[in-house]
């Protein structure tokens, strides 16, 4: 490669010392990439324990911190009426004592391993995530197995978790982005669908939860036969079969038929709901609807198109809203699977999210709609598509450097009833997706007249400019 001094520096208007500095620097042409090292998303080995527990294992050399992900087929939809939040309380209660340890002892034992253990309930089911140095995997996996096999669900601990959960609710309501998410779900989904209501329950439902309700939910929906464990890390030197047999292998339970899922439907009639926050210095935007999930063959094109629309700072939305107009710190478009199943009953939330200063709310939404209309009218460019593919595919080795990232994706695939090589195939499909397909997918994903817009902000300042945009009927709700 020839070194050539660029002249740009000498021509610039920088004065004095700066011009002196640049004139002395020797510039070189932009370097070309070297030969890429092949990288593939790791393929797990699939098996099962005698108790019916499905196990996916994946050896990642050098990953001394092992990640374990457990998926329990205990969906939020299975929560009894008026007990929204029982799956969340159950998840939290897993770490609050077992037949061997009190709640405080359990937390202490876990931290003594240098481990972290987290559990949460979502629409597809409950996920439990453990991370621990491989040397302490047997002990930590023993604690995890105890938590799943014999949770104490002591009255006092459940009462405490319920009170704690009730205390959290006002904090969530006060947070503009959380408040917007709650409102959007309420708007989009029919009241009969569990998805229309907060994942972790409301004050009215959480207060009804007691240890009997938690235990009943556990007994009805938690068993090894409908659970999967994903173990990722440097497993050389660990007899994983023996460790699993001594820990999760001790968990017993009956079998159960797969639970049919209610198909997800949504009302995406174009409209605007303002959640009034008098005096707010910014407006939180959340604009969404539902669309294709990972079982849809359009998924790769939708991922690609959505990235071009709002995946990063140089995508279409931020190019205008941030880098040209300065209305925001950043606006993102994304698709997030809500629940997904092989039978096609699932869906993804497709949304655009960000916050803009109060004064710029009307102009920012106007520009946002213009970006969408222009995209629909003119489509993506080949250059945009190429850069997006290079990014989405190219970052894979960075994204999956750690065991926990790999385990998380493998568990997502299990939870969404996808084949174990889904992610690996996705990269191949992204590379094969053309500009026309990506354009069609993103335009279909974000049609200008089928978007529900939630704005958390000062209604007295923003309602009028937003009405003037004619992007749908505008209503104002409190808080």
């Amino acid at each position: 490669m020839t070194d050539t001094a660029a002249t740009t520096g000498q021509n610039a208007d920088a004065t004095g010392k700066a011009a002196g500095v640049t004139s002395e620097m020797q510039f070189h042409p932009q370097p070309q990439a070297g030969p890429a090292t092949p990288w593939a998303f790791p393929a797990p080995e699939r098996g099962a324990l005698p108790n019916g527990l499905t196990v996916l294992r994946c050896h990642r050399p050098g990953q001394q911190l092992v990640a374990v992900e457990i998926f329990l087929a205990a969906p939020l939809e299975a929560e009894p009426q008026n007990l929204d939040g029982v799956a969340t309380i159950m998840s939290r209660a897993f770490t609050e004592g077992t037949d061997k340890h009190s709640a405080e002892e359990f937390a202490a034992e876990l931290e003594r391993c240098g481990a972290t253990l987290d559990a949460f309930a979502d629409h597809p089911g409950v996920r439990v995530s453990l991370e621990v140095p491989v040397s302490r995997l047997p002990k930590a996996l023993g604690l995890l197995a105890d938590a799943l096999r014999a949770p104490a669900f002591a009255d006092g601990e459940i009462e405490r978790l319920v009170r704690n959960r009730l205390d959290e609710i006002p904090h969530e309501a006060a947070n503009p982005s959380r408040r917007a998410a709650k409102q959007l779900s309420k708007e989009l989904f029919p009241a009969s669908l569990r998805m229309s209501r907060p994942r972790q329950g409301t004050e009215e439902t959480v207060k009804n939860i007691d240890s009997a309700a938690v235990r009943a939910f556990y007994e009805a929906h938690v068993r090894p036969a409908t659970a999967t464990a994903v173990v990722v890390g440097d497993l050389d030197g660990t007899d994983l079969d023996a460790v699993l047999a001594d820990t999760l292998g001790e968990w017993t339970g009956n079998t159960a038929e797969p639970r049919p899922m209610t198909p997800i439907t949504a009302d995406d009639t174009g409209r605007v709901v303002i959640v009034d926050r008098p005096g707010a210095v910014q407006t939180q935007l959340l604009i969404g609807r539902i669309g294709a999930d990972r079982h849809d063959r359009l998924w790769p094109a939708q991922v690609l198109g959505t990235y071009c629309l709002g995946g990063t700072l140089t995508s279409r939305l931020d190019r205008v809203l941030r880098e040209e107009k300065g209305y925001t710190y950043g606006v993102r478009a994304f698709g997030q699977v809500l629940r997904s199943a092989a039978d096609g009953t699932g869906a993804a939330m497709l949304a655009i999210s960000g916050s803009v200063d109060t004064e710029s709310t009307g102009p920012a939404l106007d520009d946002l709609w213009k970006v969408l209309r222009t995209l629909a009218a003119e489509g993506l460019t080949d250059a945009e598509r190429d850069v997006a593919v290079q990014n989405l595919v190219g970052v894979a080795p960075l994204k999956y450097e750690t065991a926990s990232a790999v385990a998380g994706t493998l568990a997502d695939q299990v939870e969404q009833q996808l084949p174990d090589d889904f992610q690996a195939q996705l990269y191949a499909k992204l590379a094969q997706t053309g500009t026309v397909e990506a354009t069609a997918a993103v335009v279909n994903a974000f049609p200008v007249d089928r978007l529900v817009t939630v704005l958390v902000g000062d209604a007295s300042q923003i309602a009028e400019p937003v009405r003037a945009l004619n992007i749908g009927e505008v209503t104002v709700v409190t808080g």
């Binding site: 740009t8 920088a14 010392k17 700066a18 011009a19 640049t22 002395e24 510039f27 070189h28 370097p31 990439a33 070297g34 090292t37 990288w39 990953q63 911190l65 937390a107 391993c113 240098g114 481990a115 987290d118 979502d122 991370e131 140095p133 405490r160 959290e168 609710i169 904090h171 969530e172 309501a173 006060a174 947070n175 982005s177 998410a181 959007l184 309420k186 209501r197 907060p198 004050e203 210095v281 910014q282 959340l286 990063t312 700072l313 107009k325 925001t328 710190y329 993102r332 994304f334 999210s353 916050s355 190219g394 970052v395 894979a396 994204k399 450097e401 750690t402 065991a403 990232a405 409190t478």
Partner: protein
């Protein structure tokens, strides 16, 4: 729990990455943000960043929140350097270079620390270092407009920049075969930023930063708590009295000439450390570094920052009560602690971990489990090299509980801890937790690159990054007790009490009735 190390930093570029969005520290700390963040937003709820936040006792790190910033892992089980090595080099223009090979994954991290942060700012120009960091992404002689972003992302890389009290960092994680591009880009802006810097970028990024401030500080409950605590803790005129985000008035006042002068003063190869970590050929990498950075002239325009030293203890409690629209009462406090880079700082880290790190800590057990007076309670440590470190207590009250009740319990626990010291088991747990957190940081190429720069810039020796875990494991229970006794005292803290406005509290209660909870 250790870390709020990078809490007071501000990102240039990516805007609201997933980490910053849901799990605001303004929400409920402790384990709650992790769980609720995952469920609460439609963003990538399983970004590894969320793991990171959970390890911070609720004092969420905003700093290193690049899109694909991998957190956690390759931690080696053994203490000490875990087999990691690093070599040091210096170019003729003064640029220090640190290389660390790791061929496990075909990725390479480039990290560049400039020895300038908000502590170097002058009165009337707070926020300038951070605003300037944004301008570093607006193009240079051979890189047009947002080219820095476009080229890195188009090469399959991720990138970001952050500003803290003590430094400004820029980093790219690249597929290994694209390493040279990242070096070329960093060199271009180090040597020629001013040729591209213009009014248009300045005005645009001023607006972006002001919106960043609104989003992360002004428009969230308790959002300005850290700013208030810092202002209490470090007296008027002290270089750490203001936080990196700066004030709206100063952001408005900054001029293009200020930005130019800032670059001329602080952005020089001899005021920077470059680290390259990962699947690299050290000889080739060094040749590239020489090629691209070697001709950038060094200069000595920089003045040392104002002295940040303060007496070991404050000598009397400072206190501010804030009445604001917040969802619950809160007791926060900043304790003056030993500076980073000392055994005492590591001992303080362990003390805060035992007291308020995680779900087996004394404060969690007392306030959340037993008394049930708090929804969350935790301690975090902001390690600072050029001023006393800051131990940050954060308790959000439960239901109608009053702050004095919480405060009495906290004081009792701290006094008991100072009198008795940690138990052997508590030491074991705290050391295991800190060990995992350290190994997490050193286990990814990006984390290691950042830590190598940190120790080189702040302590003059990057090798200290590789032995940090060992130092934490050497600390004795006696040292932990000693630092608690000397520092975790009511006369050595600034207290911030939040009281909700009565009207707001009523309205919130009503709204919850109507709308139910967030999801």
């Amino acid at each position: 729990m250790r870390t709020i190390v990078d809490r007071p930093t501000d990102n240039a570029d990516l805007g609201p990455s997933v980490a910053g969005r849901g799990a605001s520290w303004a929400g409920v700390p402790q384990h709650v943000p992790k769980k609720s963040a995952r469920n609460g937003n439609f963003a990538d709820r399983r970004c590894a960043c969320i793991q990171w936040q959970d390890s911070t006792a609720g004092l969420v790190q905003y700093a290193i929140e690049g899109t694909y910033m991998p957190m956690g892992h390759t931690a080696t089980a053994q203490a000490g350097s875990g087999g990691l090595t690093a070599t040091e080099h210096r170019l003729a223009n003064g640029l220090r270079v640190i290389l660390s090979e790791d061929h496990l994954t075909p990725v390479a991290a480039v990290c560049l620390w400039y020895d300038v942060g908000s502590r170097h700012e002058v009165k009337g120009r707070t926020g300038l270092a951070h605003l300037f960091e944004h301008l570093m992404f607006q193009g240079s002689a051979q890189v047009h407009g947002n080219g820095h972003f476009e080229l890195v992302q188009g090469a399959g890389g991720s990138l970001n920049g952050t500003t803290s009290f003590e430094r400004t960092n820029y980093f790219e994680t690249m597929p290994a075969h694209q390493l040279e591009l990242a070096l070329w880009l960093e060199a271009d802006r180090m040597g020629s930023l001013l040729t591209a810097l213009d009014d248009e970028s300045m005005e645009n990024q001023r607006d972006v930063v002001k919106n960043e401030r609104r989003q992360r500080y002004d428009n969230v409950p308790y959002g300005t708590a850290f700013e208030k605590l810092t202002a209490l803790m470090y007296p008027e005129g002290h270089p750490y009295h203001h936080t990196p985000i700066g004030s709206m008035a100063d952001l408005d006042a900054a001029t293009l000439e200020d930005a130019r002068a800032f670059f001329r003063t602080y952005y020089a190869p001899n005021n920077a450390v470059l680290s390259v970590v990962g699947d690299i050929d050290p000889e080739q990498t060094l040749a590239w570094v020489e090629k691209y950075f070697g001709s950038i002239p060094g200069h000595d325009g920089k003045q040392p920052p104002r002295d940040g030293s303060l007496p070991d203890v404050i000598g009397g409690e400072l206190r501010e009560v804030v009445e604001e629209e917040v969802p619950a009462r809160a007791l926060m406090a900043a304790y003056r602690l030993p500076s980073d880079g000392t055994r005492e700082a590591d001992a303080a880290d362990l003390a805060l971990t035992v007291l308020g790190g995680g779900e087996s800590s004394r404060l969690h057990n007392r306030l959340v489990r037993r008394d049930q007076t708090a929804v969350a309670a935790g301690f975090g440590l902001l390690r600072l090299a050029g001023a006393p470190s800051l131990g940050w207590l954060d308790v959000k009250t439960s239901g109608g509980v009053e702050v004095p009740q919480i405060e009495a319990a906290v004081d009792e626990e701290l006094a008991r801890f100072a009198a008795e010291g940690p138990t052997d088991e508590e030491m074991e747990r705290a050391q295991a937790q800190l060990e995992r957190e350290w190994l997490d940081r050193l286990g990814t190429v990006a984390g290691r690159a950042d830590e190598l720069c940190r120790y080189a810039v702040l302590f003059g020796d990057p090798q200290l990054a590789l032995t940090a875990v060992g130092r934490v494991l050497e600390i004795t229970a006696e040292e932990v007790q000693a630092v608690a006794k000397a520092r975790l005292r009511p006369d050595n803290r600034a207290v911030l009490v939040y009281e909700p406005l009565a009207a707001a509290a009523d309205a919130d209660a009503q709204e919850d009735q109507q709308e139910g909870a967030d999801q």
